[in-house]
């Protein structure tokens, strides 16, 4: 119409007061000229009014007790968090299993606990009977701290 875009979805915005002044003037022009667009406006206005006149739908008796009951709220929260918690538990289980398996499979280094006093005594006995002066000094060095 006159090279202008037809109002179409601007009609709802027009009814809702959501158009700026220029857009509103444009739609007013269409409505003044076109009986089809006035009929379209009336049809949209009818649907809009029907929705806006819908009464508030009241919750059935007992609904609020159910909706707000701590048990139900907690149960819903638990359901919501079930997956992340299950994932966390599975991850922890895998980690524990990995540690246990690693401790069984990987050999630990042998610990050596030399019996120093016995070895020292044995060495002292051997050097005392061998008459070998250097080895005899070795016995003394084990017993006496080295000092400058």
């Amino acid at each position: 119409m006159n090279g202008r875009p037809a109002p179409d979805d601007r009609l709802s915005a027009y009814l809702d007061g959501e158009l700026n002044a220029a857009e509103r003037a444009d739609v007013d022009g269409y409505l003044a000229e076109s009986p089809e667009w006035r009929a379209e406006r009336d049809a949209i206005a009818y649907a809009r009014d029907m929705l806006r006149r819908l009464p508030v739908h009241e919750a059935p008796p007992g609904v609020w007790e159910g909706v707000l009951s701590p048990e139900l709220t907690r149960a819903r929260a638990r359901r919501r968090s079930r997956l992340p918690r299950a994932l966390a538990a599975a991850t922890a289980a895998v980690a524990v299993a990995a540690v246990v398996i690693a401790s069984l499979v990987i050999p630990s280094p042998d610990r050596v606990t030399p019996r120093v006093p016995a070895l020292s005594d044995s060495h002292a006995v051997r050097t005392s009977v061998s008459d070998e002066p250097v080895s005899q000094l070795a016995t003394l060095s084990m017993i006496t701290p080295f000092r400058r």
Binding site: D9, L11, A13, I44, A47, L51, R52, A59, P60, T73
Partner: protein
Amino acid sequence: MAGGVPTWEEVARDHGRFLYNVAYRLAGNDSDAQDLVQEALLRVRKGLERYQPGSLEGWLARIVTNVFLDEVRRRRRRPADALPEDPDWVLPPAPAADQVFTGLSDDVQAALASLPEEFRSAVVLCDVADLPYEEIAESLGVPVGTVRSRIHRGRRLLRNALVSTGETA
């Protein structure tokens, strides 16, 4: 209400009726509306610290609409879960043989339930929750132009549905 931020109990007590109404208009039945409200209130409780004093009912309407759309998306991903239980989520409620619609609002609600969810959400936020287009756009994460289009197309579909049920000439 300390510092303009309501407590969880105040939200439920003072705005529960509004929240339930929006949930019902979105879901189309009491059972699903109850679930939506409960989930919405959980999100409200988590989000109260971040709530900026303003239109509390607008904030609540946005939360419950997002709960609704999340649920719609979830059911679309797992349609086998949704359809046998409650086809109302994706199809207009079909009246049982012995069910007689009483009153105009039932017909309007049925027509509303027949709208695609994206259109229904925009229309409910506009005509039931009374939010401005900009807030609706923010709630739905779409441009204002898209909101305008969805509201208009939703209303047109609704009007056609009402015509087909003989509610209007």
